[in-house]
Each structure stands twice: as structure tokens, then as C-alpha cells.
């Protein structure tokens, strides 16, 4: 069972509470995390101050090593920070792909110099990272990627196209899988870091079915990468790239953050559908499907807690990670479907004052959430991974 803290943590809790009280601007209390917005907007002075305070303290990434600016806290202390932030109505202003995926991977595989150079910028939220993985011809079969990376002596030269690069339009740097040997498949891939602010990089946002553009096409035309920005050995990028995907999947399954949990389905259903004389949701068929979804979500959360308790002491995500992504994404997609269904035709409102903010968000979350079983390893790829790695069934794809 999870350790929910003991006496030792009480002193730390008091310290964390006092620090948050002293540093968290009151005007931001219970405000949404500006990072969760799809569009980039100029942050307010209070938002900037809060980001700087958390960045300097290192508590945005509480368990990362203090020598690179991280919080240096134990998992139990990190939970306390999270609880105290929640209690104060404060969000964590430090995030993005640097925090979720690249940072943990670099801490594991990077050289000391690479960690010194790149981790502090992530900790402070000053450098925004994007992921150069998928290509038009390399989706589920990621190792088929073709973006060429040639050794030009003092630098690498990069040519090719990436797609579904999340947040590339705002990114400063890209962690990228590139082909450094065309005679091999998996063993010809390297992991390089590319500066996005250079003439050889062009970014075009892709408009999705929900109207937003969280992903881009990214074109590299004679783009450069410095030699020191090769992570791991040349042609040894596949192992690192896969490890990073484990972090991505555990992050993607970590909660409803990206598409917003909003208020509970039963609350919404009571309002839109009404209740019977016993106080139950009037539509019994809908009610039982809401219950099922609530239970699925609860079971997922319990499993996340269990995996955390079991992994204590180990570093990095466990084999259970792949189960978590399928479980979380399918449950959240069903939840989004139920939300639209509960609202009826009101839940299909696209724009206009006839629809509430919640209604317009419901339709876009429902559509946007369809991506969650496609990206980060599709539902089907996750099932392949479970079959092969955990259940030991024969692998037909030889890709993972």
C-alpha cells in the first residue's frame, strides 16, 4: 500500500505550506494553468512571478536532482508539495515535453555536460522542447523513419520531414530521432537535439477536427545540429527513443489534465437529464453507463497508486506503463462521449452565445481526445507491446 506520509513529513509539509503562501500570487488562486491553453498568450506579471519562483525553487520537478536545479525531494516529499499546491489552489507552472519526457530521459542517458547544459532550462521553464519522432511514412512503425542526419565533421546536417510535432511552433529545441545509417533499420537511428531557431527549420501547424492546432509539420532543410548534441552513441538512438516513449506513455496516462476532467458526469446528468423520485439520474441506461465509466476511472487511479507503491525504490516507469495508457485513454474517451451525450444537441455547439463555455469545450475535448489512442503509440501498438513484452506471445512486427 502507498505510504501516505508519517511524522517526518509534517515538518516538511509546514515548510512547503509556508513557502507556497509566501510565493504564490493570490490573484492566481484556483485559476487554470495557462500552460494548458492551446494558444500562446502573453503571461501576466503574476504568472511570470509564480513561474520564476517555482523555477528557482526547483519544485516544478520536485524529484529531479538538486545539482541541476531540481527540487531534490523524495517521492513522499514531492507528494506533499503536490498536495499543498492543490490546497492553496495553485498550479504547477513548470511543464511541457521537457518535463514529461525529455528531462527524465536525458537524466538517464545524457553526459554530465549535456545535463548541465539542458536540464536547468527545463527546470526553470525557460526552454520549451518539442518531439521530432513521427514522419509521414513512420507512424506506428516508427523505426521506418527517414530523416537523414549526416556527419559533416564539425556538425551534423539534417534533412527530412517530421509530423505531429506537438508545440513545435512555440519550441526552442527539438529532441529528434534521425537516420544516421541507411543500411540498418533500428540500429541506424540516432537521438539528436536540434535548435528550432535556425533558417533550415520550417514549422507548419496542422488544424485538427476540433479546430485547434496542437501539432505541426516540421521540415528540416540543411538544418544543423552541433556534435555535442548527440545523446547516447551514434546509431544507438532507438533504445533512448523507446525509453522516452515510456515516459511519454506514463505521462499521457497520468490524468485527464490535457483534456480537462471538468465537473463530474453525474452532476451534469442531473442537470441535463433530471432525476427520478429516488434521486437517481432519470435515464437508467445512461446512469449505468456513467457508473461504469466512474468505476473504470477509479480503478485506473487505484492502479496508478498501486504501480507507484510497487515501483518505489525502482527508477523509471514499470512494465505496467503500457497497460496504463490504454486503460486511461479509453476511459477518458468514453467520458468525453458521455459528456456530449448528456448535453444532447447542446453538446454539439461549435461557436455562438447559444452554447455555454462548458458545452463548447465538451465538443472540442471529445474530438481532440480521439488523438489520445493514436499518439504516443496507438491503442493497437500498446496491445502489441503487452502481448509481446508482458505476455510473451510471438511478435509479428519485430518493431518494438
Amino acid at each position: 500500500m502507498a505510504d501516505f506520509g508519517g511524522g517526518d513529513l509534517d515538518a516538511f509539509r509546514a515548510e512547503a505550506r509556508a513557502w507556497i503562501e509566501a510565493n504564490f500570487p493570490a490573484e492566481l488562486k484556483n485559476k487554470p494553468n495557462p500552460m494548458m491553453r492551446e494558444e500562446a498568450v502573453e503571461p501576466s506579471p503574476a504568472q511570470q512571478a509564480w513561474k520564476k519562483a517555482m523555477g528557482d525553487k526547483g519544485w516544478g520537478v520536485p524529484t529531479w536532482p538538486a545539482q541541476y536545479g531540481g527540487g531534490g525531494l523524495s517521492p513522499a516529499e514531492a507528494r506533499v508539495v503536490q498536495q499543498e499546491l492543490g490546497r492553496a489552489g495553485a498550479y504547477n507552472p513548470i511543464g511541457g515535453m521537457g518535463v514529461m519526457m525529455f528531462g527524465p530521459t536525458l537524466l538517464e542517458y545524457g553526459t554530465e555536460a549535456q545535463k548541465q547544459e539542458h536540464i536547468p532550462g527545463i527546470v526553470k521553464g525557460e526552454v520549451w522542447w518539442c518531439q521530432g519522432y513521427s514522419e509521414p511514412g513512420a507512424g506506428s512503425d516508427l523505426a521506418a523513419l527517414q530523416t537523414r542526419c549526416e556527419d559533416k565533421g564539425d556538425h551534423f546536417l539534417i534533412n527530412g520531414q517530421k509530423i505531429w510535432t506537438s508545440g513545435a511552433q512555440y519550441a526552442d529545441m527539438c529532441f529528434c530521432l534521425v537516420r544516421t545509417d541507411t543500411t540498418k533499420k533500428h540500429e541506424g537511428i540516432s537521438f539528436v537535439l536540434i535548435d528550432m531557431h535556425q533558417p533550415g527549420v520550417e514549422v507548419r501547424p496542422i488544424k485538427l477536427i476540433n479546430g485547434t492546432s496542437p501539432f505541426c509539420e516540421t521540415f528540416f532543410t540543411d538544418a544543423r545540429a552541433e556534435k555535442k548534441n548527440l545523446v547516447g552513441p551514434l546509431n544507438g538512438g532507438w533504445t533512448i527513443g523507446k525509453r522516452l516513449l515510456q515516459h511519454e506513455r506514463s505521462g499521457l496516462s497520468g490524468g485527464g489534465g490535457m483534456f480537462g476532467m471538468g465537473r463530474s458526469l453525474d452532476n451534469m446528468a442531473k442537470e441535463y437529464v433530471g432525476v427520478d423520485e429516488a434521486g437517481r439520474i432519470a435515464d437508467s441506461d445512461l446512469r449505468s453507463r456513467i457508473i461504469q465509466n466512474d468505476m473504470d476511472w477509479r480503478a485506473f487511479q487505484q492502479t496508478a497508486m498501486r504501480a507507484m507503491a510497487e515501483a518505489k525504490g525502482n527508477s523509471g516507469p514499470s512494465a505496467a506503463t503500457s497497460i496504463m495508457k490504454n486503460a486511461a485513454t479509453s476511459t477518458l474517451q468514453t467520458r468525453a462521449e458521455l459528456t456530449v451525450e448528456i448535453m444532447g444537441a447542446q453538446g454539439l455547439g461549435w461557436t455562438g452565445d447559444e452554447f455555454s463555455k462548458e458545452e463548447k469545450e465538451a465538443v472540442r475535448s471529445w474530438l481532440g481526445g480521439k488523438a489520445t489512442t493514436i499518439y504516443g503509440g496507438s491503442q493497437e501498438v500498446q496491445s502489441n507491446i503487452i502481448s509481446k513484452r508482458i505476455l510473451g506471445l510471438p511478435d509479428l512486427t519485430q518493431n518494438h
Binding site: F300, R306, S383, S387, L391
Partner: protein, 363 residues
């Protein structure tokens, strides 16, 4: 698997090795074929009791080890793997819980030591029809005599002491102790598809002693029984899955093992995912009982519903993926399928617990 204490690990390992050595599924088959009147092997039950398993939730002063419900769940899970039939759930968990939570010192002293050492068997008699509905109680007690009918009482044939729900003279529901050999008790053995011990029982003015706690006690005891049977189901479902997975890796058709077909792989991955999720719910429910958390009712309903759905799926897939051999009585698949439905129905099926979960949440 929950993070276990050293004691719990030892208990689980002991249960695992005893079950694998002494009580494989072939032992269950033998018991079924012999038509054992009680629906379990008495010699095997005695061995289990000697190892102290019947006293895991009973306080030490009454002859138990007081290791708690998560510990007892570990044993039930191992027993469930091979469908081992025994009164452990009805006696060492359900009846013992009723006595521990609602018994007077005299009642505890009379029954708990015997239950702990396995020389007395207890059983819980709650339902009066084929659907679990503990709030519907016609049985009643007047002047210390209990009259009424109870249906589908697990281990009802073996019970030396029955824990019976009935209305008192004030019209309120409570639990009562009735001796199995009372002249006013008439038992009829039920032969169900899962071959386990079950009985319909008529009470005609049987001597009854009240436990204290009323309807609250009834719910508490039921929640413990539900979590316990969910633990047993977790073991059964995991074994059903592992047996099926083994078959996928060995059965050859079209020149390759059938486990290389993606249509089957993805169904296997789905089962594995559901089993992992269900395990979390079962362990959380048992731990909540040990912690005496106020969330016990909703966590138990969550666990019983998720475990029921999962065992339902896995037992169906076990038969389907085994193909024709899975339809034969000679194969074990049918045992798991039959046990799944009996265990799903016991103490409330998925529909019952989904509804209860929502009512607890206020919708």
C-alpha cells in the same frame, strides 16, 4: 500485487505451495465426481485449519492470528487459482466477521476459538431469493425463536452455526446466531453448476441469539464477505487467464501457434489489462477494511463489480480460445466458467454493485 509485509509474504507463499501441491484443480474434480455431500473435501479443510487460515481475522485472545483481511484475501486468492472448495470464506471470513464485530464476550468465547481451529463451521444466511437483496427480509424473531426461509446459503449444509438476518420484535433488521443442529432448522442441499456447498434453509422457531449492531452490522459483514469472494475470484480469473495464455502458446493451427494471431493477442492484452485493474480494486477494498476506512462500502462495490466483469470476460474467453476442447467436461475451462457465474451472483452481482456504488455517490 500490493506491497506486502513479511508476515503476509510468508502467508501467501505457504498458501501458494499448499494449493499447488495438495489442492490442484484435479482435487476439485475428484471432489465433484465423488458427490461430496458438503461440497468440499473435509480432509483438505482440516489441513487448511491446522495452518491457521480459519483464524486470520480472529483476535489472538480467541485463538486467531489477527492478521487482517488483506492477509486472508491473499489466501483466498491462492485457493481461487485452483478452485479449491472450502468453508474458509463462509466461516473464517463471513461468520467470523459477524462474531468479531457484533458478538458479546460470551458469544465470541463460544464460537470464535472453534471457528479459528476449524472444528466449527459458520455460515451467513442473508438472501431469501435468487437475487441478492439484503434489505428484503421476511424472516423474523419472536421470543428468541427465528422463523423464515433463507436461500442459497454458502456452506449452509456444513454450518454448525448460522448467522441469520431477521427482523426483531421492533421490526428492525439484525443478525442472529442459530445452531445448525437446532430442531427448528431444516436444510436442503442445493446442487448448483459450480458443485460447491449451498443450501436452502427453513427456520421453524429455531432458538436465536441476537448479535449487536443491527442493519449496520449486516452491511459491514456483507462488505467483508464481498471483498473476500472478490479476492477468491481474482485468483480464479488470473489462473483461467494463465491457463488460456499457455494454450495460445502451444496450440498450433495453420502452421503456427495460435498466439501469433493478432486477433487473439489483442483480446489477451485486454484481459491482462482488466485483470490488473481489477487487482487494484480488490486490494484497495481489503486494505480499506483493515484500515476501517469510511470508504469501505463504495470500494467494496467497486471491487465486486470490476472483479465480476473481469472474471465473466476471462471465463468466457477461456472456453472460446480453447475451442472444442474447452467445451468438454474433461477440460478445466468449464469449471472456471461455472464458478465465475456462481461467484458473480454471490453477495451481489455487477448490476447490484454498480447501482449501490452510484447510490453511495448520490446519483
Amino acid at each position: 500485487m500490493a506491497v506486502l509485509s513479511e508476515e503476509q509474504s510468508m502467508l501467501r507463499d505457504a498458501a501458494k505451495s499448499w494449493v499447488q501441491e495438495k489442492s490442484p484443480v484435479s482435487a476439485f474434480r475428484k471432489m465433484r465426481d465423488s458427490g461430496a455431500e458438503l461440497g468440499y473435501d473435509v480432509a483438505a479443510w482440516n489441513e487448511m485449519a491446522e495452518m491457521g487460515w480459519a483464524g486470520v481475522i480472529i483476535p489472538e485472545e480467541y485463538g486467531g492470528s489477527n492478521f487482517g483481511y488483506l492477509s486472508l484475501g491473499l489466501i483466498l486468492e491462492e485457493l481461487g487459482r485452483t478452485l479449491t472448495a472450502s468453508p474458509l470464506l463462509a466461516s473464517g471470513l463471513a461468520a467470523a466477521s459477524a462474531l468479531v464485530l457484533g458478538g458479546s464476550d460470551a458469544q465470541k468465547s463460544e464460537w470464535l476459538p472453534k471457528i479459528a481451529e476449524g472444528t466449527a463451521v459458520g455460515a451467513l444466511a442473508v438472501d431469501e431469493g435468487p437475487h441478492h437483496n439484503p434489505s428484503k427480509v421476511e424472516a423474523s424473531v419472536k421470543g428468541g425463536k427465528l422463523t423464515g426461509k433463507k436461500a442459497f446459503v454458502l456452506e449452509g449444509m456444513a454450518a454448525d452455526v448460522l448467522v441469520v438476518s431477521a427482523k426483531g420484535e421492533d421490526g428492525k433488521v439484525g443478525l442472529y446466531l442459530v445452531k445448525g443442529d437446532d430442531a427448528g432448522v431444516k436444510r436442503t442441499r442445493l446442487h448448483l453448476a459450480d458443485s460447491r456447498g449451498a443450501a436452502n434453509i427453513e427456520f421453524n422457531g429455531a432458538a436465536a441469539e441476537a448479535l449487536s449492531g443491527g442493519a449496520d452490522l449486516l452491511e459491514k459483514v456483507l462488505d467483508r464477505a464481498r471483498a473476500g469472494i472478490a479476492a477468491e475470484m481474482l485468483g480464479s480469473a488470473n489462473q483461467a487467464f494463465e491457463t488460456t495464455l499457455e494454450y495460445l502458446k502451444t496450440r498450433v493451427q495453420f502452421g503456427q501457434v495460435i498466439g501469433s494471431f493478432q486477433a487473439l493477442q489483442h483480446r489477451a492484452a485486454k484481459m491482462f489489462t482488466d485483470l490488473e485493474l481489477a487487482r487494484s480494486t480488490v486490494e484497495a477494498a481489503l486494505a480499506a477494511i483493515d484500515a476501517d476506512s469510511p470508504d469501505v462500502p463504495e470500494l467494496v462495490s467497486l471491487a465486486k463489480a470490476k472483479m465480476g466483469d473481469t472474471f465473466h470476460l476471462v471465463s468466457n474467453e477461456m472456453v472460446q480460445m480453447h475451442g472444442g476442447i474447452g467445451m468438454t467436461d474433461a477440460h478445466d475451462a468449464g469449471f472456471y466458467l461455472k464458478r465465475a457465474r456462481a461467484a458473480e451472483a454471490a453477495f451481489g452481482n455487477q448490476a447490484f454493485h454498480r447501482d449501490r456504488y452510484a447510490r453511495i455517490q448520490g446519483y
